[in-house]
């Protein structure tokens, strides 16, 4: 299913130009948000000794960080809805930097939880969501590629940050490293600076000039044309959504759209993803320990993760390109469901891999599947709800997913401890993901059908409206407002209903 008509946004996204700079900035932001908690584990050994705590106590730092990054989603969405992406990302970058700088002066583990976990975590939350949102604002036809490239920032950043952290630690100790990491995280502000605002905010520049043109034309004799022209163009420029949202209840929805919970596509995505995340991250966490359990030495076990990261790096943009092709894009939800099920199948087959070669093959396929899912994670959500409502959707989705993301690895760990065998963890993860994939596949099939039906109905009503319009122009010459109302009709609907067909989006404007 293709996204709703771009009349949703009120303008045509550029699909290029400055958009690629935005993709670059987004990949930096996303990269920091996803890879920083993982790369931070380099310091665990030292911190354990200095603060005299157990491994699980120190692991709480990254858990809190992840929880805040995902849980801060709705706040992020509200802020983006209010201020736009750029100020939020810059503020987020500053917050991350300040958090790490403060962490350099910590004297207890609790202060570390607050500085690194909460403050930096929240800063990363303010980085992650706006980066994904702004891609939807800059791209439409090439959005899957843009998403794939932006998400590719995560493995790239991880493979840079992990050795960098080790280097900093060897030369500056952990305090100095935190201090310098604070500066490095400030680079998120650079990414934020690239997020030039686009859309409604940019258009006011045009409004006064159009109004000027109208005034000069008004001086001409043809009054009816002017009257038809002015309210029409003004309304199309300012976007009827602004006028609509002036209602009292809907004013809050402008900041965080809770009506999404009535959106069929959103609910399907939410349930499917919540299920999927139960088994998504656990295999990565336990891959190296599993390898060591099988008797493989530490360096080879670590190398498995490197293989995974490299394959991941390549898989994400490639998936973006594939998802953008004309065969896949209309049915992108099926591709997403397939990649989740493929991921699950990999995990189910993992217990069959007994030697190092088997594990290498598993890592390659896992990296591929992981990259495929991640690349399309946000693209499919954009596809279902549309770029305008995506801002709120992403916030709501991340806070709900937050729970299962955090539960996944501990449940896996409990399974391993109870049965003493890793294979049950892999089976659980695989089963959960295959289930999620199948659920999404079936529900999306239903969703596509419902959307097709609604599209047919909408077309039918449009036809009848067009007929009405022709009748009215002949009989009511002076009743201009009635004409506008009719012409406003088709424009208003796309905001509330879903729309289908790539063609429709492209020709959206011309329809009007």
């Amino acid at each position: 299913m293709s996204p709703p008509a771009n009349t949703d946004l009120g303008y045509t996204p550029p699909d290029g130009g400055w958009g690629w700079a935005v993709v670059f900035g987004a990949s930096i932001s996303v990269g920091f948000a996803y890879s920083f908690p993982k790369a931070f584990t380099v310091y665990f050994k030292e911190l354990r000794m200095v603060f005299n705590v157990s491994y699980s106590q120190i692991a709480w730092v990254t858990s809190i960080m992840c929880a805040t990054t995902y849980g801060g989603g709705p706040i992020s969405s509200i802020l983006v809805n209010r201020f736009g992406s750029r100020p939020v990302v810059i503020f987020g970058g500053l917050l991350c930097g300040i958090g790490m700088i403060l962490a350099a002066f910590c004297t207890s583990i609790l202060q570390l939880y607050i500085c690194v976990g909460v403050v930096s975590g929240f800063g990363l939350a303010l980085n992650l969501q706006p980066s994904v949102i702004i891609i939807g604002k800059y791209f439409l036809k090439r959005r899957p590629i843009a998403n794939g490239l932006a998400m590719a920032g995560s493995p790239v950043m991880l493979s840079t940050l992990a050795p960098l952290n080790q280097f900093l630690f060897d030369n500056f100790g952990w305090r100095g490293s935190f201090f310098i990491l604070g500066a490095i995280l400030l680079n998120c502000c650079v990414a934020g600076a690239l997020f030039r605002p686009i859309g409604m905010a940019a258009d006011p520049v045009r409004k006064p000039t159009i109004k000027q043109a109208e005034k000069t034309v008004k001086e001409q004799t043809n009054k009816s044309s002017v009257e038809m022209l002015s309210p029409k163009t003004v309304s199309s420029l300012s976007g009827t959504e602004d006028e609509e949202d002036k209602d009292c209840c809907e004013k809050f929805n402008k900041y965080l759209d809770f009506s999404l919970f009535k959106h069929r596509g959103f609910l399907i995505y939410l349930i499917g993803n919540v299920l999927m995340f139960l088994g998504f991250f656990a295999p990565i966490v336990f891959l190296a320990p599993y390898a060591k359990h099988l008797g493989i030495d530490e360096y080879s076990a670590a190398f498995l993760l490197s293989i995974l990261a490299i394959v991941d790096m390549i898989a994400r943009p490639t998936t973006g390109i594939i998802a953008n092709s004309k065969w896949v894009r209309p049915k992108i939800q099926y591709f997403f469901s397939f990649s989740i099920a493929f991921n699950g199948a990999c995990h189910l087959l993992c217990p069959l891999a007994t030697g190092y070669t088997g594990l290498v093959i598993y890592s390659v396929f896992f990296g591929l599947a992981f990259g495929m899912v991640c690349a399309m994670l946000f693209e499919t959500l954009m596809d279902l709800v549309g770029a305008a409502r995506f801002t709120s959707a992403v916030g709501l989705v991340t806070i709900v997913e937050c729970c299962t993301i955090l539960l996944g690895p501990p449940i896996g760990g409990t399974l391993i401890d109870t049965f003493g065998d890793y294979k049950y963890m892999f089976i659980k993860c695989g089963a959960v993901m295959v289930l999620a994939g199948t659920f999404l596949f079936i529900m999306n099939y239903y969703n596509y059908r419902m959307l097709a039906k609604e599209e047919r109905e909408r077309k039918a009503t449009e036809e009848t409206m067009k007929d009405h319009k022709h009748i009215r122009t002949e009989t009511e010459d002076g009743n201009i407002w009635a004409k506008e109302k009719m012409q406003d009709g088709p424009e208003v609907e796309p905001l509330t209903d879903e729309r289908e067909g790539l063609k429709k989006e492209v020709n959206g404007k011309s329809e009007v």
Binding site: F172, G173, A213
Partner: protein, 351 residues
């Protein structure tokens, strides 16, 4: 000891270090690398085959033992099991053979040397034992000769540190070969990379001896070329030694100053000797990470400024171009106004 044997011609004895693969596979001890020569190297025309078997000494009851007790003769001497260390020398032309024997508790050991000689070598072989290059005469030495194999065994009861050292078995006829057993306490590994800390901060230096549990740990700090013992009871607010576990020692240094930038030695005291590990501490001031920090912060500010300036510049250009476009459109409207309503409205709508 001179023993005459049969055989004509010169004896060509080759020293072959062929360690039975299993036994010498426990090359965990440092220095056993010296003894890892392939059994397959028996390509020379060695008539004499010295089979050397070395294996790790481990005290009975120690679950850290990596050795198979099954493979050697064990004699129970005074409650302690005796473990045999043996070395094979393959012919008189072989290079000297060495083996590290790690001991940390009193034990009974037997050092066994086997020399396989070629039939061409002379039958008379003088067998002696040396400790640290001094000849030993002991009733604990036995010498055997079978077909072409001379073997000698030196039984030792190691009880104190004076008995540690290098024991060499020497076979002498026309030429001389020997095999050496280095009896030593376990080596402590410190940290190769220095530990970094800051002025006013606290640091913990760790030394571990996982396989062998020492009786005691002593910390030293280097003072020029000397080593001064650290007494934590004398300076309790500066140094704290944590000995929660017997095989790990932690030295916590509080209120670090630049004077503490030196090497520290952790000494593990065993019944049979001591062993030291080195940990070096590097003390930095807060200025040190500040320079990279400022460099990166400056880079961020410069990049952000460039991006914003570029945006303002391109916006100005865009507005300029738009003004021109609007002017043109107005002109067109004025000229085409006479053509009718439809054209103008559609043109505007497309905007």
């Amino acid at each position: 000891m001179r023993v005459s044997g049969s055989g004509a011609g010169s004896m060509r004895l080759q020293l072959l270090l062929s360690l039975a693969a299993l036994w010498l596979s426990d090359a965990n001890e440092p220095g056993t690398a010296m003894t890892t020569r392939d059994i397959n190297q028996q390509t020379r025309e060695s008539i004499s085959d010295y089979t050397v078997k070395g294996h790790d000494l481990s005290t009975p009851g120690s679950h850290l033992s990596t050795q198979d007790f099954n493979q050697q003769t064990e004699e129970n001497i005074s409650n302690l099991t005796s473990v045999v260390y043996s070395k094979s020398i393959d012919g008189f032309s072989s290079a000297p053979v060495e083996e590290n024997v790690i001991l940390y508790n009193p034990a009974n050991i037997a050092l066994l040397c086997n020399l396989t000689r070629a039939s061409t070598d002379s039958a008379t072989v003088e067998v002696t034992w040396k400790k640290d290059n001094e000849r030993v005469e002991s009733s604990n030495v036995t010498i055997n000769e079978t077909k072409n194999v001379w073997s000698t065994q030196y039984t030792l009861k190691i009880r104190d540190r004076n008995q540690m050292g290098n024991y060499t078995c020497v076979f002498k006829s026309d030429q001389e070969v020997n095999a050496t057993f280095h009896l030593q306490v376990p080596q402590i590994e410190g940290k190769e990379h220095h530990v970094v800390s800051y002025v006013g901060d606290t640091v913990v230096l760790v030394c571990k001896s996982l396989k062998y549990i020492p009786i005691n740990w002593i910390w030293y700090m280097s003072n020029g070329s000397d080593q001064v013992a650290i007494n934590d009871s004398l300076m309790p607010d500066k140094y704290i030694v944590d000995e929660k576990y017997a095989n790990i020692t932690k030295l916590k240094i509080l209120k670090i100053s630049e004077k503490d930038d030196r090497s520290y030695w952790c000494q593990a005291v065993f019944k049979l000797g001591e062993s030291k590990g080195k940990v070096s501490l590097k003390v930095l001031t807060y200025m040190t990470p500040l320079k990279p920090f400022l460099a990166i912060a400056a880079e961020v500010i410069i990049l952000v400024a460039i991006i914003f300036l570029y945006e303002i510049y391109s916006k100005k250009k865009q507005m300029h171009a738009e003004d021109e476009k609007e002017f043109e459109q107005i002109e067109q409207l004025k000229s085409e106004d006479s053509n009718g309503v439809e054209n103008s409205t559609t043109r505007h709508r497309k905007v």
